[in-house]
């Protein structure tokens, strides 16, 4: 490897990491633990819409949903952020004014990243100037797979600089990197290049987030924290659709890196359909029985 990272990148055994992930799914989360966990999941949710068809109206719906996902009687906290394309940032900022909920914007030629660097940096600056306080960038997977680690490192560092005060989330698109060794390597590389958050996927490629992939990322974050004291966040995105899955991720985080990471500052879900299922579950705690999905508003 021509590019030397500061900290070691241990190898990952595929069978072992997948086996470990299955064990997290065997935890039984009931009663208070379940309702508390689900509320925490909502507070960690980056409510997301990333469609070509996104309009101001759609973004308005989403922002209102993020402010108050459920009726007051369910005591459901607001979401962590609203994640949109750069064009929708000004509108989302306006809609979320006074709520304290940040606007996250995808940038750097999302979702492919296949644009010249200067355009990608302009994309970032534009989103930041429009009021985005979190930037979700995509790395150049092609360059990474070619072995251009130094280039990827420099790009992340340049984007971080362009972000200014905005938080930087680095999206790997792990479905395209394929191996866990690649995930561990790119995680460490991004952290050293200045990422505040590392994120699995754009949601445009399948498979998106999986439990074992996210576990490898959380393990990287943990080892980096223990070595340096610096806390990096992790965001699985795409493919998390059920309340049960969300709880499995929280179990994994809790048992891998400890309770300090169970906060929206350090763990997020990128999801568009997860909230609906969580709402059904949360409502059951108050109402005593499951309601039809028709009783809950879409974002």
């Amino acid at each position: 490897m021509p590019f030397a990272l500061k900290f070691p990148v241990p190898r990952v055994d595929q069978v072992g990491v997948e086996e470990r992930s299955v064990k997290f799914t065997k935890r039984s989360i009931k009663n208070d633990a379940k309702s508390e966990g689900l509320k925490m999941a909502v507070s960690m949710m980056d409510l997301t819409t990333l469609e070509g068809a996104d309009s101001k109206g759609k973004v308005t719906h989403l922002c209102r949903k993020a402010r108050q996902p459920m009726q007051a009687k369910y005591h459901c906290p607001p979401c962590a952020a609203v994640c949109v394309y750069p064009n929708q940032v000004p509108h989302a900022v306006k809609e979320l004014e006074g709520s304290g909920i940040p606007v996250a914007s995808v940038a750097t030629g999302f979702p492919s990243g296949q644009y010249p660097l200067k355009l990608r940096l302009a994309d970032v600056k534009d989103a930041v100037n429009s009021g985005a306080s979190e930037i979700d960038m995509v790395i150049s997977r092609g360059t990474f797979l070619e072995g251009g680690l130094a280039e990827v490192f420099d790009e992340i560092a340049a984007v971080k600089e362009a972000c200014g005060k905005a938080h930087l989330k680095v999206i790997f698109e792990t479905g395209e990197l394929q191996t866990y060794d690649n995930v561990r390597l790119v995680s460490q590389l991004s952290i050293e290049a200045g990422a505040d958050f590392i994120k699995t996927s754009t949601g445009k490629v399948s498979p998106a987030a999986t439990l074992p992939v996210t576990l490898v990322m959380v393990e990287t974050v943990r080892d980096h924290y223990l070595a340096t004291g610096r806390k990096i966040g992790v965001k699985p995105a795409g493919g998390i659709r059920t309340a049960k899955q969300a709880l499995q991720y929280l179990v994994m985080v809790k048992e891998t890196v400890g309770n300090d990471w169970l906060t929206p500052e350090l763990f997020r879900f990128g999801a568009s359909s997860l909230l609906g299922d969580v709402e059904l579950q949360l409502a059951k705690f108050v109402d005593g029985n499951y309601q039809s999905a028709d009783y809950f508003s879409n974002g």
């Binding site: 241990p10 069978v15 065997k26 935890r27 809790k254």
Partner: protein, 487 residues
């Protein structure tokens, strides 16, 4: 910069609510012997207590067999062997075994709960490991019953006769399946003696045999302490002896079998080395080491109880282990989130405690989790020793508890030498990213089962057994048929 070293916090904050398995199980207050297809009281009418190790309280009363009962069991097995089971075509025997396997699957949940109540192992292990594997063994050997001619080409395999089988308390139902399934598949009949502290599920298995319509006498179960096991294996009309348990008892059984016509297989103790190289997949190696020693509270004969670390990774790996044992949940075996259950018996807890004391006395450093232990019952926190040298008792004797001994090595040759520096030879684990090294070392380590980048993997198709004082003969796979046939 004098900054405090970063620490992970596993306490406080979000935690799992208790998730106990409900227990609508058909637990009886009294368990009888199973002889000649009937549940019968012991001739002397005496019973002993079986204790739930998680509470220390009585779970049930178990029939205390004596020699007269063993004689009846062997007589019944002999009759069934000669009149029914021996002459029966393999295809017919297979049908019974398939039926038994299916009923085990149907009753898996209640059997898993009973296993955890009686033995103290966490419900997630009895549910996800013991029961599925027990059923799988019956399915696997059911398939062999009518294909024995193909297992031994050119030979005509005949059954041996009456098998006397004595099994341990660490995997009560699973060990019964390991012993009974190949014996029956080959046309033998059985007298089984479960361990004194864990007889309950064996009798429930007898009910399953009954439900499956297994002819009377094909399997007989006598319960009691060690002397009843000795009576079973020492009975002159027993043709084949199979024992799983301690090396000490195994030696006595071997001595008693000398000069008799009995075929003998022994599966005894172990002190397996788990060898981790610096290029190992580190996270997975930690998990493998944890699983290797703390699975079933360390009550596993093939447990990876000696950890051999390459010197360059020793400190880092030890820190990883320290952090990891903090996340192991110790407590109620019936809680679905429990990782470490109760120690099987007061006696066993005493042995573990004594050896931990020996480790401390000999100068090794004890690391232990800070888990709270329940007030009642028998418990031991997951623990490991560093600074262990090869001559320490904790490096040589089988502890059979959740206690790991950590040592170091510098080169592959030294790792092999250290791994083989034991009277046992049941299993070993090798962790490295270099596949060729795994194969080379596997040829040099004297152990019956060697796992590469994993540990404690069991499958009915794979033979299991020991080198040296870990015993002889194999269970599982086509090799597992061999002790039960005459060629």
């Amino acid at each position: 910069m004098s900054q405090a070293k970063p620490q992970l916090k596993f306490e406080d904050g979000w935690d799992y609510a208790p998730a106990p398995e409900s227990t609508p199980v058909p637990l009886k207050s009294k368990y009888e012997l199973f002889i000649n297809g009937k549940f019968v009281a012991p001739k002397n009418g005496r019973y002993f207590r079986s204790v739930n190790p998680a509470t220390g309280k009585q779970l049930a009363r178990i029939a205390k067999a004596e020699t007269v009962d063993v004689n009846a069991a062997v007589r019944s097995a002999r009759r069934a062997y000669e009149k029914i089971w021996g002459p029966m075509p393999g295809s017919e025997r297979g049908k019974y075994l398939f039926r038994i396997a299916r009923i085990i699957q149907e009753k898996a949940r209640e059997l898993a709960i009973l296993e955890s109540m009686d033995g103290g192992k966490p419900i997630k292990e009895s549910r996800d490991v013991d029961l599925p594997l027990a059923a799988a063994h019956f399915f696997y050997y059911a398939g062999w019953a009518d294909k024995l001619d193909y297992a031994f080409p050119g030979k005509s395999p005949d059954p041996v006769g009456v098998a006397g089988q004595v099994i341990p308390w660490n995997f009560p139902l699973l060990m019964a399946a390991w012993k009974i399934a190949p014996a029956l598949a080959c046309g033998n009949t059985v007298v089984l003696k479960p361990a004194e502290t864990t007889s309950v599920t064996a009798i429930h298995l007898a009910e399953i045999f009954d439900e499956a319509g297994l002819p009377p006498g094909v399997v007989n179960i006598v319960t009691g302490a060690g002397e009843i096991g000795a009576a079973v294996v020492g009975h002159p009309d027993v043709d084949k002896v199979a024992f799983t348990g301690s090396t000490e008892v195994g030696k006595r059984i071997a001595a008693a079998a000398v000069g008799t016509r009995k075929k003998l297989t022994l599966e005894l103790g172990g002190k397996a080395a788990n060898i981790v190289f610096e290029d190992a997949p580190m996270e997975q190696a930690v998990e493998g080491v944890i699983n290797g020693i703390y699975f079933n509270q360390g009550h596993v004969c093939c447990a990876g109880s000696r950890l051999l670390l390459q010197e360059s990774i020793h400190d880092d790996f030890v820190e990883r282990l320290e952090r990891r044992i903090e996340t192991l949940r110790v407590g109620d075996p019936l809680d679905k989130n429990t990782d470490i259950g109760a120690i099987n018996s007061k006696q066993q807890l005493g042995r573990i405690t004594k050896l931990i004391g020996a480790g401390i006395d000999e100068g090794a450093q004890l690391h232990t989790s800070s888990a709270d232990l329940p007030d009642e019952g028998f418990w031991c926190r997951p623990s490991f020793f560093t600074g262990v040298s090869a001559s320490h008792r904790i490096a040589r004797e089988e502890i059979f508890g959740p206690v790991l001994s950590v040592m170091t090595f510098r080169t592959p040759a030294e790792a092999v030498a250290r791994a083989n520096d034991t009277c046992y030879g049941l299993s070993a684990g090798i962790w490295t990213d270099k596949g060729s090294r795994i194969f080379k070392m596997a040829n040099q380590i004297k152990a019956g089962v060697i796992w590469g980048n994993t540990f404690n993997k069991f499958d009915p198709t794979s033979p299991f057994g020991g080198f040296k004082e870990s015993g002889f003969g194999r269970e599982g796979g086509v090799q597992g048929l061999l002790p039960y046939v005459r060629l």
